[in-house]
């Protein structure tokens, strides 16, 4: 009994000193896996080395639903979260703190990377990946070939998510110019998708998309670029003729007690040195335009930012406004 008391006392003391060592604890939630490890190595650890008064505690996996619930219940335990294109827009103002552009330099970002409530962490993309062995030397070129099942037979794996870019892909394959995509002609896109409906296989997690490609289940797929690079050694190649944009954003939940530290962290994470370091570990491009030219050689050529000229920029605002309606129509189409 006495031992237990002594242990408890010691634990309390230790906990006390831990709190004293860092004045502020910044809790960051990202997407876990190799992605978050890369962020930890290139962003979090250098930040803590430079700011000994701030301790970063990592959490995963970031979820918009969790952030929303957290703010609504007034129990904000996360200070900085990573999110996707669908969140962090003006429509989400009630759950987020505006980015403090007196701390974060707005002019360093590439176009569209700095919003009122979010700042891009990295530039990702959904790309057309294909199994090079399947088509006897032929390689698909662009979204039109994604729909050409005669020349390029086999299943196509696509993210089962209305705003994944699949509507944009279908319309471009149908001849719509990228700058004329919005407002999305939902019925036209679905009609185009009808032509390959039996060849479509849907994935719901990144690992599933890798599995479909590497096992040979799917001969082509629309996947996150990082996932395509992961299976490159299995003969999976990327066609950069067209690709749809995707972005990782930092957001700060409304009501966090560590807003200042969070803004400081965002500013640090998006500096060229950190973003260049990040490209050592992940094939995602920097959001800081001063880092673009000096990315690490490892994934040079596979970074979305190396192909910005062929990027199909998705309109997140349009999706924020129409997403729910389009999703229901999409689900209905899936069931038909």
């Amino acid at each position: 009994m006495r031992n237990i008391l002594a242990l408890t006392a010691m634990a309390t003391l230790l906990a006390g000193t831990a709190v004293n060592a860092a004045d502020t604890t910044l809790t960051i939630s990202s997407y876990g896996g190799v992605y978050q490890e890369a962020q930890s190595k290139s962003y979090f650890q250098p930040f803590m080395a430079q700011n000994p008064d701030i301790k970063i505690v990592e959490d995963s996996s970031s979820s918009n639903a969790k952030l929303k619930a957290m703010v609504e219940t007034g129990n904000v335990t996360l200070d900085l979260l990573l999110t996707d294109d669908s969140f962090g827009l003006d429509a989400d103002a009630q759950w987020l703190e505006p980015i403090d552009y007196s701390v974060v330099d707005k002019s360093k970002f590439i176009d569209g990377a700095a919003g009122t409530y979010r700042v891009a962490s990295d530039i990702e993309g959904t790309v057309l990946a294909y199994n090079a062995e399947e088509f006897g030397g032929e390689a698909p070129k662009g979204f039109a070939d994604f729909f050409n099942t005669e020349k390029f037979p086999g299943s196509r794996a696509v993210w089962k998510y209305a705003a994944s870019g699949i509507f944009e892909v279908a319309l471009i394959a149908d001849g719509v110019k990228p700058e004329e995509l919005y407002p999305i002609d939902v019925e036209r896109a679905l009609k185009k998708l009808d032509t390959i409906k039996d060849d479509l296989v849907w994935w719901e997690s990144g690992s599933q998309s890798e599995q479909l490609l590497s096992s040979g289940e799917a001969s082509m797929a629309l996947v996150w670029v990082g996932r395509a690079v992961n299976v490159a050694e299995k003969g999976i190649k990327i066609d950069w003729t067209n690709w749809t944009s995707q972005t990782g954003y930092w957001v700060v939940p409304k009501g966090t007690r560590n807003k200042e530290a969070a803004m400081k962290a965002i500013s640090f994470f998006t500096e060229p040195a950190q973003q260049i370091e990040f490209t050592k570990y992940m094939p995602y491009g920097p959001s800081n335009k001063n880092a673009l030219a000096s990315v690490d050689a490892k994934f040079k050529g596979s970074l979305p930012t190396d192909h910005l000229d062929t990027r199909v920029l998705m309109n997140a605002d349009w999706w924020a406004e129409n997403g729910a309606k389009v999703d229901l129509r999409f689900q209905e189409w899936l069931l038909q």
């Binding site: 999703d327 689900q331 899936l334």
Partner: protein, 295 residues
């Protein structure tokens, strides 16, 4: 004052009893408190979220949107079929466990429980490895020359069925086994002495006695099947979507907590109704059984 009867069946007056909390209550009090805090309260909260400001707009939306109705209908249809198949597979399995001797019981129990301890996600993924076009089953069939091109096993209703039945099997087998173990096999001997074939004896004696087990395992399998999420997502096509996937989509993708909560409440109420129906059928069967026995 309460009225009870004496040993001749005549009513007698007894002294009023003061209410006393049975001692057993204090044993289950922590469990009740736990459930109240972590189950009943969040559940009420969920109902509240589905009725923002007392408005039933989300429920209106559910019952006027064909997609939702179709998925709810599909969920019940799939669950019912899966239940029938699961119980049909579980029945002979439990029979062998109950009456096959110790060695068989041991082997069958291990075969049943080891997968039961493996996570549901892992088991669903394992089925992908087996069923996919380049999976073990297709590879084997092609290697033996039985088929030339891979048969589509995964992302079909068949894939969902096989995955769900496999996961539900232990839940269906165990209640059947406990009931069957208590059935006196001498009754079957007696029937055969009286000249009945094994099949007749089984149909007239064994099966009716095992019915409570059948009902229990069917109820368990059905209510669990209604909430399946990962298995249909991994092994089915989008046409095999079940309501749990739609609920998750409303929460995680659409961030529409109200609609997601309303869908969850609808699923819960319908499950309760189905549960009640099963219960009614069971009671009816038992009553019929008793009247037949002349009791």
């Amino acid at each position: 004052m309460t009225v009870s009867t004496n040993d001749r069946g005549l009513p007698v007056a007894t002294a009023p009893r003061t209410f006393r909390v049975p001692p057993a209550f204090w044993l289950i009090a922590p469990a009740i408190l736990f459930l109240a805090l972590f189950f009943v309260f969040p559940l009420l909260k969920l109902v509240a979220i589905s009725l923002p400001g007392g408005s039933i707009e989300y429920y209106e939306q559910i019952f006027t949107t064909p997609v939702f109705l179709r998925v709810i209908g599909e969920t019940f249809r799939v669950s019912l079929i899966v239940t029938v198949v699961t119980v049909a597979v579980a029945y002979p399995y439990a029979y062998a466990m109950a009456h096959g001797g110790r060695a068989i019981l041991l082997v069958l129990t291990i075969a049943l429980l080891i997968p039961f301890w493996v996570s549901l996600l892992l088991r669903s993924f394992s089925w992908i490895v087996l069923l996919q076009n380049s999976g073990l089953i297709n590879d084997f069939l092609i290697a033996t020359g039985l088929i030339e091109k891979p048969v589509r096993l995964i992302r079909t209703p068949f894939g969902v069925m096989i995955g769900m039945v496999h996961i539900l099997l232990p839940y269906a087998v165990l209640p059947l086994y406990t009931v069957m173990k208590k059935i006196d096999l001498r009754l079957m001997e007696a029937s055969s002495i009286c000249g009945a074939s094994w099949l007749k004896g089984f149909a007239r004696i064994y099966f009716p006695l095992s019915l409570p087990g059948v009902m229990a395992s069917a109820i368990l399998a059905f209510t669990l099947a209604l909430g399946f999420y990962i298995t249909p997502a991994l092994l089915g096509s989008p046409r095999d979507m079940m309501i749990a996937q739609m609920i998750a989509g409303q929460f995680n993708e659409q961030l529409n907590f109200g609609l997601g909560a309303a869908l969850a409440v609808v699923l819960m109420v319908l499950t309760a109704v189905a549960f009640g129906l099963f219960g009614a059928v069971r009671t009816a069967l038992q009553l019929r059984g008793r009247s037949k026995d002349g009791m």
